[in-house]
Each structure stands twice: as structure tokens, then as C-alpha cells.
């Protein structure tokens, strides 16, 4: 495989960390990714050389800080191929983005008799905000099921779409099953009913090249920290016309045009949705992260991660009694699994002592666990800095787990 993973690993200081005497094998990337030096440097330099609050100051540093922040917005626009920077709203993360939209959209468009469609494989962050909006407005939540391989049942989706549907909120890639959903088809079908689609892109952005115009997505949400950027920064993309029609989500500084006690008029897009002092340093870090993955090349990343997925699937399948949950034909390098009769928490604790970081539990997707009638899984989510040697360590670790608990 023509991918210089050893060289790439040197960009990530944390990966040489020792845990319980072993070099860490970090497989919890679905939860958060490690950061390359360029991102860490960007954040550090910002604090050392540029820090000043954006948009309001008249002084040199504030101007410079504002410029950096707006450059980051342009960087994000370019990365997802949005039509305008007015369509890029910075938030605290995917959860923040979806909550903002669910509130704002709910206020304007949901009422008794209307429906919101989500899927059975959504992260809690793309379930609960819609549940809350539906409760508030008396609307109904409808759920598209998935099949035994972890693929959406498209026929059921087609049937759920109706003139009652106001929005479809669906994940691009499942965080617990790895499934890549047929977004283009989902969006095309929804648009036939003139229904807009919000895409939860938290797991997609680090793995795939995302083109919101090609997808024709109406809203697209993602986090910085899952895509090698800093924590506490995220993005809500929305088509300009749709965002323009939506009411603001939070009130405060920067989102206003003019405030009197009688009436407040709101600032223009995208500032209408950016109340308070934004995480401008996080935004700069996110831009650096996008530069980093673009430099490596998303196509190369995809190819190498596909190789890792195939290698890891083969290795794990050779462990007796191991079952993988999520076997979609089109999936990313996420492996959710259980070893017959062994509690994931027990297995995870042993792997931890071997310096192997996996996630155990429901992965914030309890309905997915309910579907398979299990209480949780072990999850290894692999990215381009993982190696086959690390997968071999996981494989050996799982054998040890079997010896202890089997």
C-alpha cells in the first residue's frame, strides 16, 4: 500500500504516548480524533500573537482576528463547496448545529399534524433535538428502519414521505455501524415532496470528500474535533434562502443589527445565527485541520482506510465467537462487535491495560442496540493514522480477552 503511515504518524504528537507501559493504539476516532501539529500550532500561535475578540474592535488585533475568523469561514465553504460564506454558520459542534436548526426550523415550520423523519441509526444528537421540537410544537417523529446489515430500508422511507413531512434529518454515515447512507437518493426523494434534508455529517467529514451542492443537501452539520480540528467548534451549513427564512436561535451580541427596548432587528447571514463571542480560535484550528487532510488527499485517505477496514474485518472475523454489527456493502472503517457472551465493558478494560483504546457501550445510539437486542458493543473506529500492526495488537488483545472471560 502506497501510504506513508509512519511519516503521517509523526504529525500527531499524542500517538507516541505510552499508556500502561504500551504505545497507545488509538481506535476511538469515532468519538474524537487526535490533532496534527499544524492544528496545535495554529491554536497556540493564535493565542500568542493574534488573540482579540472579533467583529467589534477598532484596533489592530481585533481586525486581524476578524480576518482570520472570516478566512476560516471561507476555508470551510471551499471544503464543502458551499455557494457562499453566508451559508456557513459556526457552532459549538454537530450537536450544537442540529439543536440550533431543530429549534429554529421547529418554531417556523412544525405544528400539529406535521412530521419529521429521522432514521433508526441516528446518533442521539440527531434524535433528541427533533423529539424536543416535535413535543414543543405537537408534531410527530417518524423513523426509517434499517435492515440486518445496517442499511436503511429505502422502501420504508419512500412510504413515510408525505405531504405532512416538513424535514428529513438523516446521518451521512452511522457512528456505530459505519454505514454510508445513499444520501443523493434520499435527498432526491425528499425534494420530490419539496421537503428539505438535514444531514448529520459528523462521521463523514473526516473520511469523505463532502460536496453539499453535488449532494443538494439543504442543511449539513459537522464537528471540528472529529475531523482533526479543535474541540468546541462545528459548522451548520444551510442553503442561503432557507437560512434567510429561519428565525434566529439565540439572542445576544453580534447577531443583532440594532437593539432598542421596543424592537431588535437582526444582523444578516451568517451572523444572525452567531450570538455571543464565537470560538474564533477553534474556527482557525478547524481551517488548519481541513488544510491538513486536503494536503494528504481525501481520495488517498479513503483508499487507505478502506484497506484498513478490510484488514481489520478479516482479522476480527478470525476471532472465535466474534460478531460484527453493521455489514453494509458501503461502509467506512468503523467496526462494532461483540465476542460471544463477553461483556464489552470487561473486554474494553482488558484492552485498555494493553494500551488499546476502543469505545464500549451504546455509542449514543441506543435504538441501534435495541434493534440487535444487545446492550452495547465494542467499537474500533479506524482512521488514516492507524496501522495494520495496531490491528494485530487488537487481534491479540481480543484473544487474551477470550482466555480471561471465555
Amino acid at each position: 500500500m502506497d501510504f506513508e503511515v509512519d511519516k503521517i504518524r509523526q504529525d500527531f504528537p499524542l500517538l507516541s504516548q505510552k499508556v500502561h507501559g504500551h504505545t497507545i493504539a488509538y481506535f476511538d476516532n469515532g468519538a474524537t480524533t487526535q490533532k496534527p501539529s499544524s492544528v496545535i500550532e495554529t491554536v497556540r500561535r493564535y493565542y500568542e500573537e493574534e488573540n482579540a475578540s472579533i467583529h467589534r474592535g477598532i484596533h489592530f488585533l481585533s481586525d486581524r482576528s476578524t480576518e482570520t475568523y472570516e478566512k476560516a469561514r471561507e476555508r470551510v465553504r471551499k471544503h464543502i463547496n458551499a455557494a457562499s460564506t453566508n451559508e456557513i454558520i459556526f457552532t459549538s459542534g454537530t450537536t450544537g448545529s442540529i439543536n440550533a436548526l431543530a429549534f429554529s426550523f421547529g418554531e417556523k415550520y412544525l405544528s400539529p399534524g406535521t412530521e419529521v423523519i429521522i432514521s433508526e441509526m441516528e446518533h442521539h444528537s440527531n434524535i433528541v433535538p427533533w423529539q424536543m421540537a416535535c413535543e414543543r410544537k405537537g408534531a410527530k417523529l417518524r423513523v426509517v428502519p434499517f435492515n440486518e446489515n445496517g442499511e436503511l430500508v429505502m422502501e420504508a422511507f419512500r412510504k413515510l414521505l408525505s405531504d405532512k413531512t416538513r424535514i428529513v434529518a438523516i446521518t451521512h454515515i452511522s457512528n456505530s455501524l459505519g454505514t454510508i447512507n445513499p444520501l443523493k437518493e434520499i435527498i432526491r426523494l425528499a425534494h420530490k415532496h419539496e421537503v428539505p434534508v438535514l444531514v448529520d455529517g459528523a462521521q463523514a467529514l473526516p473520511h469523505e470528500s463532502v460536496d453539499v451542492r453535488d449532494l443538494d443537501a439543504d442543511f449539513y452539520a459537522f464537528s471540528g474535533h472529529k475531523a482533526y480540528g479543535p474541540n468546541g467548534i462545528g459548522v451548520l451549513y444551510g442553503k442561503e434562502k432557507l437560512l434567510y427564512d429561519l428565525p434566529p436561535y439565540q439572542g445576544g451580541g453580534d447577531m443583532v443589527d440594532c437593539v432598542t427596548f421596543d424592537k431588535t432587528t437582526y444582523n444578516e447571514l451568517p451572523y444572525k445565527f452567531e450570538a455571543g463571542t464565537m470560538n474564533y480560535i477553534g474556527a482557525a484550528g478547524l481551517a488548519a485541520a481541513l488544510d491538513y487532510i486536503t494536503d494528504i488527499g481525501l481520495e488517498r485517505i479513503r483508499e487507505y482506510e478502506k484497506y484498513l477496514l478490510e484488514y481489520a474485518t478479516m482479522k476480527l472475523m478470525s476471532v472465535p465467537g466474534l460478531e460484527i454489527y453493521g455489514n453494509a456493502a458501503n461502509k467506512i472503517s468503523i467496526l462494532s462487535f461483540l465476542i460471544d457472551g463477553i461483556h464489552p465493558y470487561d473486554a474494553g478494560m482488558v484492552l485498555d491495560k494493553l494500551g488499546i483504546a476502543v469505545r464500549t457501550g451504546t455509542h449514543c445510539t441506543q435504538p441501534v442496540m435495541d434493534h440487535f437486542k444487545i446492550t452495547g458493543t465494542l467499537r474500533a473506529s479506524l482512521v488514516f493514522y492507524n496501522t495494520t500492526a495496531e490491528i494485530d495488537r487488537l487481534h491479540a488483545g481480543l484473544h487474551q480477552v477470550r482466555e480471561m472471560f471465555g
Binding site: 465493558y345 478494560m349 491495560k353 457501550g361 451504546t362 446492550t375 472471560f405
Partner: protein, 142 residues
């Protein structure tokens, strides 16, 4: 043996283990020693829900002592549960309430009682003390 002597005994037991593997294997062994909880009590009423593993806990008062029975769906958690029962079961309510569970830290299992682990153990300790408080109040009323 009073509670603190018992804690010292457990600490001494764990001192012989050279590494985590021996410690975990011992916890697995202890999990097998835990008296089986009557399945009829493994219900939501007795469930202490952790995100990661489940713990069921029941308490009865017998001759002025609180007797705990418990179980967990994860084996390592169950091993620690069995240690907690060994230390705190069949004790006066006041004694249970006043105990500082130093042994957990001393045998190197503190991370298992951290709130971030969400394995039900921290809530279990709280619940054991709450039961003790409830029984103490009940006894005082008599």
C-alpha cells in the same frame, strides 16, 4: 473483624499481585464467589444504571445489620461488587455510613469508581450508604 481491619486484609490480598492481569484474574475469581442473586430481584426496581455496565443491589435488615445482595452483568464490575459486599454487608447501619472506602484506592481500582466510567459502581456505593441511612432512621423510630 471491623470494617477497617477487613479493608486492610483486602489490601494485603492484592499486594501479592505483580500486575493488572493477576488483579483482574482475581476479580474474575471473586465474581464467581458472589452469592447468586435471586433473578426475581434483577429488575428495574433494584437496578443501578450505569451507561457501561449494570448493577443490581438489594438491602435487608436482619438483627440490626444491613445485608446486601448484588449482581452485575459485567464480570470485572461484579468482582468489585463482591469486594464492596464483603466490606459493607452484615454491618450496623451507622458503621456503613461512616466508612471511608480506602481499600478501592489502595488496591489500584480507583478508576473504577470514577463518575466518568459510568459503570454503576459509584452509584452503588452511594446507594449502599443511603440504604444504611434509611435503616438507621427506621431503627431510631422504633
Amino acid at each position: 473483624m471491623n470494617i477497617n481491619e477487613l479493608q486492610d486484609e483486602i489490601i494485603a490480598e492484592f499486594e501479592v499481585f505483580e500486575d493488572w492481569l493477576d488483579k483482574y484474574n482475581y476479580l474474575i475469581e471473586l465474581s464467581n464467589d458472589l452469592p447468586i442473586m435471586d433473578p426475581q430481584y434483577k429488575t428495574n426496581e433494584y437496578l443501578i444504571n450505569g451507561c457501561q455496565s449494570k448493577v443490581w443491589l438489594r438491602a435487608d435488615l436482619e438483627d440490626g445489620k444491613v445485608r446486601f445482595t448484588a449482581d452485575s452483568d459485567a464480570i470485572i464490575t461484579k468482582g468489585i461488587v463482591s469486594l464492596l459486599i464483603r466490606v459493607l454487608s452484615d454491618r450496623d447501619p451507622a458503621e456503613i455510613m461512616d466508612t471511608d472506602l480506602v481499600f478501592i484506592d489502595r488496591i489500584g481500582l480507583r478508576e473504577n469508581l470514577s463518575p466518568t466510567r459510568s459503570n454503576g459502581l459509584l452509584s452503588m456505593v452511594k446507594q449502599m450508604k443511603l440504604y444504611a441511612l434509611a435503616y438507621k432512621t427506621k431503627m431510631a423510630q422504633k
